[in-house]
Symmetry: C2
Subunit: 479 residues, 2 copies
């Protein structure tokens, strides 16, 4: 299943419509263009980014149309009748190449290449950025949490702190990036993600006392009950009552699945609880932890404190991408009317790369990722003897004879989605495969090196020419 919303044409920035109308007025709406989607910085000061959101984006692109009501709205807003007539029949008819959903990607790389008419390429920009920026941010966070948990698992518990309806994308991206399940039932059903959850303080408070609340919960949920033990006092009340309830439940042939710690010092409480459970012969009862956790806290608990925690619930920081809040992905024009173009800047890191490009990954003999290269689409790798570091033209990387693969694949052709339709399960699986191929150094939570992304001979030459022409233009003017 997938997210489907009817008539998303207005899910765009106002200036896209203003520009589209302008292009239409100048008869430029059908000029052929190529746009690139890329971001400039890995979130969380990390060493990589997990690309996500492709499935949602392509589905929503299919719904990118204007209802009669939308058109009246635009008419009232002052848009012209002939432009509104054009929008009446509007649907995206372009072609898109994209890296696979779940791919491990890096700053500056063209992750998506949109080949479309000028007006349609502009109208879909906001939707594309909105979905890909957010889902990639969250999938990357989830992947970092998973790197911290190692073989332990974690669930997305973020719905209540997620950004409104963005919770739907948050749960999808969390699962692709590394969560085992989600508490968000809407997203679970929509995308086929496993749903999970335990119990709240209100359950405990709704019974006369804690032990009765635990007994009742076990009775109602014999298969997979997790008891929340911090309503009154974790070690003096919660855990002893959970043990009593679990032992009674054993006599009926049942097994308590776990307890959940939700406040206090998780390292101390988990060790004490583990000992109390083990002493009672309840070695099988799992310990879950939640309470404003993030990847760094999880890492410390498991790898420094040796906390005997079996699973985590991660909420706020997962679904908000804290502390980054947004991936800085942008959508830039690379070709128009058959001519290469780029945005210039005094700061080379703010410049864009011109032309129709392919992203190529080079691998070590063991299959692990060595470096990536940005090539012209039609350029043969053999024609390049070396790559230039994207921002520092003095560094060259030899890459001949290395195993390599193209990362940009056709996903949308002349307005039609190209099977297979990106699927959440496939994206998660792909992410899991790919992250194992990323060398360990880039997977550290802090203090990561920079993964090499180079540009090819031809791309380097093209950018230099365009830059030189631009400088000459200014010199002419200054004369």
């Amino acid at each position: 299943m997938a997210l489907s919303l009817k008539n998303l044409g207005l899910y765009t920035d106002y200036y896209e419509l203003v520009m589209a109308q302008g292009y239409f007025a100048w008869g430029k709406q059908d000029e052929k263009t190529v746009f690139d989607y890329f971001f400039r910085t890995n979130p969380y000061q990390g060493g990589f980014t997990v690309f996500a959101g492709l499935g949602d984006f392509l589905e929503m692109l299919g719904d990118f149309r204007f209802s009669d009501d939308d058109l009246s709205y635009l008419n009232n807003a002052g848009f012209k009748v002939d432009f509104i007539d054009y929008l009446k029949e509007f649907c995206f008819k372009g072609t898109i190449f994209s890296v696979k959903e779940g791919e491990i990607v890096f700053p500056g790389e063209p992750l998506m290449r949109i080949e479309a008419n000028l007006a349609e390429a502009q109208l879909i920009e906001s939707l594309l950025l909105n979905i890909l920026n957010y889902e990639s941010l969250i999938a990357t966070k989830a992947c970092r949490v998973k790197l911290a948990t190692g073989k332990k698992v974690f669930a997305d518990f973020g719905l209540r702190r997620a950004p409104g309806l963005g919770a739907i994308q948050a749960s999808r991206a969390s699962y692709i990036g590394g969560a085992s399940s989600t508490s968000n039932v809407f997203a679970a059903k929509l995308y086929g993600i496993p749903a999970s959850g335990t119990q709240a303080h209100a359950w405990i408070q709704s019974f006369a006392n804690e032990i009765e609340a635990f007994r009742s919960f076990l009775d109602a949920n014999p298969q997979h009950a997790v008891l929340l033990v911090d309503t009154y006092d974790t070690l003096r009340s919660g855990v002893p009552n959970a043990i009593t309830a679990a032992k009674e439940f054993e006599k009926k042939g049942g097994r308590l699945y776990g307890i959940r710690l939700d406040s206090g010092d998780m390292a101390f409480l988990s060790k004490q609880s583990r000992k109390m459970l083990d002493d009672a012969g309840l070695g099988y009862v799992k310990i879950l932890a939640s309470n404003q956790l993030n990847e760094n806290m999880v890492y410390k608990l498991l790898h420094e404190d040796n906390a005997p925690i079996d699973a985590f619930g991660i909420g706020t920081e997962l679904v908000t991408g804290k502390p980054d809040a947004a991936l800085d992905g942008v959508y830039k024009l690379a070709e128009i009317g058959g001519k290469n173009t780029m945005k210039f800047s005094d700061n080379i890191e703010k410049e864009t790369l011109p032309g129709r490009k392919q992203l190529i990954r080079f691998c070590n003999p063991d299959g692990s990722f060595l470096c990536d290269g940005i090539f012209m689409e039609t350029e043969s790798i053999r024609s390049s003897d070396f790559m230039y570091n994207q921002f520092n033209q003095d560094i060259k990387t030899d890459f001949q004879s290395l195993a390599h693969e193209n990362l940009l694949h056709l996903v949308f052709e002349n307005g039609i989605i190209v099977p297979p339709i990106p699927d959440v399960m496939a994206a998660k699986k792909y992410q899991e495969e790919r992250i194992t191929l990323l060398p360990e150094a880039f997977k550290k939570l802090t203090g990561v090196p920079k993964y090499t992304v180079g540009i090819s001979n031809e791309l380097h030459k093209l950018r230099s020419e365009l830059t030189k022409n631009n400088k000459n233009n200014f010199n002419d003017k200054l004369l």
Copy 2:
């Protein structure tokens, strides 16, 4: 207009359904309960919070039902047939008291009181928290930006960096909190918010050169054109070309509305641009600024650098609530089956307030806010001689004879929304009125004092009794 989504019953955390089924199994689903919504910390280390999201929440509450498809999903997930039958007819039939949308509120205050049957009160928790936490976070950010801009205006430009579909709530909340318009056309139409926008680098690049791009844009948008001047070089190319185009446009009887600065040193560039425009007799052309701005940067530009900027576009930090990312709002049980209840903790700040409460604001003679008090619903103010500081029982505040008003109002009664239906325009207007009544000290962007929120005699007495009983329970156990 308002956001309407059909069948939002699954927009809940999995454990709410598990607990609801458990309550149903124990015949407790119809027990009368009272829940409070409150948060513990003002975002952004600020002195206040703008309450927002009420309109969306109440609309979505009306859509909180389960489709046949949802019920099959739950059936496949292992929920029991009699519980699923119960959900078939489910709709929220409770009563809600809430502070008005746009109200200025503070930590620890009950902002919403939900009186409902146990099962329904639990099922709607996640939706309530999801919407209110996020919209209040963003409305508060917008209000801070507006405090920084003073009489200048700003637009929400956040769609492309907003968290997926949360962009819809982000634009709504931004407008309530202080934005003058939004770039998000979907939200603009849905809620009746003014839409605005300028032009992108792609427009400039799609023409042979910058001056032609400017001329063409003015021709297509004579009324309200804003020219983006940093595609090639702001001061050497963009502003001179904008001046040329504006002077030509003057000859045709038109007026260029403004230019937009989108990179570089905004203070320097705005001063240089202003001078160049003024020297050309274009004193009427406005200067807009955008580029990763937040309230602190806007404040510095206008109040320290004296930058001649007339309007701002605020994107990423506005719609993500950076650096906070989430309001820590929670939903806690205060009464069940006619009995007061609370959550205990060794940390008094983590304890909750029992019972059915009213929030009362006390004002200075000039109408400005002095302090707030949390009272029992049926308690007469006269019966209290003083209030207790919520977390420090030694501090007392005298409040007799002060002007005051109840802040909790009936908004939903026995499952039916109580008119007037909260409206975005009304909420914005109310926020604008109320923020003027908040003393200046609390409106500073940093280094704010703590606004006094007290609890009444009766509430203090009730909490003390319940706490004492809880301690006695433990002492009994330890014997």
